[in-house]
């Protein structure tokens, strides 16, 4: 059994995502702690933004990290950085929770209360304020149809057929606006 505690006073630092995930896949709890310390705020923030319920966001955060613990061997760095990987797992889980606990009508009301260009979420802290300003700026560069298709799906958990029905547009339009909206967002963020 590996000895823990006193004999290891300096925690290992895994600079590369692959190294960190390989250590976690081998059952290294210190490496897992490092993963948590680096990304817990990002994961929790992503869940809270969709759920707006601290208890549920905490649950999702726990599920995401335990999924990373069990699935560390499946991580492939070419599919994107660790932050992207974890944040998208958190988002998807949060959307699953919203769909199962919050009726579609409640989500419609909440979406309707939001101003078109308002993006929900906890108040940005100072560190990320600049980065978030870029995201907001780039969202504002989308066409109204792109913006609404993207935000109704991503922040309110609607499926694309629900959005098409809500907006009275063909399914193909919504699918296309989501895809070209994301492409425009990517281009804008790359310039920023």
């Amino acid at each position: 059994m590996p000895r823990r505690g006193l004999l290891r006073s300096v925690p290992p630092v895994h600079a590369q995502p692959q190294q960190l995930m390989a250590a976690i896949a081998a059952g290294d709890l210190d490496a897992f702690g490092e993963l948590y310390d680096r990304f817990a705020s990002a994961v929790h923030g992503a869940a809270l933004q969709v759920l707006r319920d601290p208890a549920r966001a905490e649950e999702v955060t726990q599920e995401v990290f335990l999924e990373a613990w069990r699935g560390a061997a499946q991580y492939r760095s070419e599919r994107g950085g660790l932050r992207t990987w974890l944040v998208l797992i958190a988002h998807r889980r949060a959307i699953d929770v919203v769909r199962s606990v919050e009726a579609s009508r409640a989500r419609e009301e909440r979406a309707a209360r939001r101003e078109l260009h308002e993006v929900p979420g906890p108040e940005a802290d100072l560190v990320t304020a600049a980065e978030w300003a870029d995201v907001r700026h780039c969202l504002e560069g989308l066409t109204p149809l792109q913006l609404e298709s993207v935000t109704l799906a991503y922040y309110d958990g609607f499926t694309y057929p629900e959005i098409a029905a809500h907006m009275g547009r063909p399914l193909s339009t919504i699918k296309t606006r989501m895809r070209d909206g994301l492409a425009r967002l990517r281009d804008c963020l790359e310039e920023a």
């Binding site: 081998a26 955060t61 991503y154 609607f158 499926t159």
Partner: protein, 219 residues
Amino acid sequence: MNAHDPDVHSLLGPYLLHALEPAERAAFEEHLTACASCREEVAELRPAVAALSDRPSPPPAGLREQIISRAAETRSVRRSPRRRLRVAAVAAAVLLAVGGGIVATQRGDDRMTAADVFAAADVRTHDMPTKMGAVRLGMSHELHMVAVDGRALTDPGAGMAYEVWWSANGRATSVAMFQETESVVVPMREGELQITMEPMAGSDAPTSPPLLAMPAASL
């Protein structure tokens, strides 16, 4: 819509935004395995999707410890490659040594299962009652292995598992761990085969009296 429908390709945007129902999501993921350009586009757009979530918010302070202790609980039995690999390596070495390894090595991997041992031509099986239920042991001289089938045992309790030891000259060496739904194979040795209940992370030496103790000569 299925993975071969030309229209499935148009689901890329909703897929990235997590705006698909499970059936369409599965169809698109199947499509992805066959479509290299889609995989590339998904990989390119993913960081932009994640940026939509980029509002860090620290979780409550107690969560770290809670998550790490949950991870520690699930570590050993389900994911202790070290311990299992050690058993597999010993098994492979034994097979080479006795020259009887043809059966196992022709399988393309060196992991022998309990079923292999129970299926051996010379297997001797023993159904052993314990206070946690019955354990079936199977020993093959040919394979030089012992199978321990724990599927009739009861749940050892939260955070606990069964550990298998070979004990000789007053010293017990851990050879495998398993849960009540599992069976394991361990190499044949001198001494006494023992099974105890231990915390899932495994113990350096038995911490409870053996549920079962079987001399190698009786196997």
